[in-house]
Amino acid sequence: MIKKLQNIINKLYAPGFIIGLILIWQVVCSLELVPGYMLPSPIQVMQAFINEFNVLMGHLMISLSEALLGLGVGILVAFILAVGMDHYRGLHKSLYPLLIISQTVPVIAIAPLLVLWMGYGMAPKVMVIFLVCFFPITISLLDGFREADRDTIRLMKSMGANAKQIFWHIKLPCALPGFLAGLKVSVSYAVIGAVVAEWLGGTAGLGVYMTRVRKSYAFDKMFAVIFLVSLISLVLMKLVSLLDRKIMPYKRIQNKK
């Protein structure tokens, strides 16, 4: 009972602190320590969020579908690359340096080019998201495949297992924890990637909305959309955590020990 209470109290620290910060913010605005046109109060932000709710949801759907599409393509390509590179040493040797170099190219800088090449539609956005997402997933998968226990693989070979069976029963499950860790990073990249890509041009999406309200100095709406973006990232990360628990029940038992 006491332990339960302790747990609840422990869980309240972070939310309590955040609420405290928001209160201070509200007080600062109410006392007009900062001019209202520069920093809207939390209540104003909340109001903007409610007033603009329908508009925001419309833009959100666009950004979210871009993010998920880019992420999906990223996962697919990462899997194909990682499996191929793990299987063929030559492919690994030739592609690995290229992968690293690809990450030194600032995606933000080539995004305008992508817009020029691919137009103002969804395609350049999905491309940007794909470019930021596929790398962490590929690397985590590759590392995971490599971590597969050699002795266990030998044992399976002695049982006459073929390459496909070894992949399915050892390599893939060994790569799952890393894959999910990479995915957790990638989902937040994906949402941010979508917003940044939309800044560069387009007709809909949270990034487009953000550019519009910034140009009209509607700071309350600006904050509303910023909070929405981070909220969505949090929700997606939580979903990955749930997936984590669902497909790796043994991890929880391991952590309890």
Partner: protein, 246 residues
């Protein structure tokens, strides 16, 4: 002869690891290979299990040449090598799955052995929830389900503490009475070798050779009585002498 290895030689990078090893196994027999660490026992097992090819020599099972063929002998090591992400039932039924059985069939067949192997109630548990002794039992069941034709056990109990080891020896002798799988057993524990084996080969030298063979004729009714008996001590003395001479 049921199982036979003839004149097995193997070198790595020009260094001879094992030289001219010949051994035999009758049906239902448990034979130990006793020798110090690094003598090439594991190399020999890799060859017998087909994971590696010998430089020269041949291996026969029921007069069929199986040199370099995997998938015939089952191989168990000191590490249980159970997969942490699979439940015990899925771990032990894995070899059946590899042979092409469906998941349901494999689970059903594996289930029938759980009681006999003292693994009741562990089916849906994960390896980490089991004690070391229980994990080795599960690993042994997995090996048995893979192949009962020939089992190669490479120091299977050496990582266990003395008391657990004692219990598992009793259990192992009991279960082998029913299974009667021809078994080659690597160990560096002399007591374990005398207790469990029908015959013992001493492996020694550099490169490793089989220097001597003992036939153990002890009534293995009660392990406690046997391990403290005079016969047991006599065997132990002889074996120690043979190891020193080699």
């Amino acid at each position: 002869m049921y199982f036979k290895a003839e004149h097995i030689c193997k070198s790595y990078d020009g260094r001879k690891i094992i030289e001219d090893i010949s051994l035999e196994l009758k049906e239902g027999e448990l034979v130990s290979l006793l020798g110090i660490s690094g003598i090439g026992k594991t190399t020999l097992f890799n060859i017998l299990s087909g994971l590696e090819k010998p430089d020269s020599g041949h291996i026969y099972l029921e007069d069929k040449d199986i040199t370099g063929q995997t998938g015939i002998a089952s191989y168990m090591q000191q590490k249980d090598l159970l997969m942490p992400y699979k439940t015990i039932i899925d771990n032990v039924s894995l070899p059946l799955l590899l042979k092409g059985m469906s998941k349901r069939e494999a689970r059903e067949k594996a289930s029938t052995y759980f009681k006999q192997f003292g693994l009741e109630g562990t089916k849906t548990q994960y390896p980490i929830q089991l004690s070391g002794g229980m994990r080795q039992r599960a690993a042994l069941l997995r090996s048995y389900l893979f192949s009962s034709k020939l089992m190669l056990l490479d120091e299977p109990f050496s990582a266990l503490d003395a008391i657990t080891k004692h219990h598992i020896h009793d259990w192992y002798l009991e279960i082998m009475k029913e299974m009667r799988s021809p078994t080659l057993f690597i160990t560096h524990d002399i007591d374990e070798a005398i207790l469990l084996s029908d015959r013992i080969y001493i492996m020694a030298g550099n490169p490793g050779r089989l220097t001597k063979m003992f036939t153990i004729e002890g009534a293995k009714i009660s392990t406690d009585d046997f391990t403290t008996s005079e016969v047991f001590i006599t065997y132990k003395k002889e074996i120690l002498k043979a190891i020193k001479e080699a």
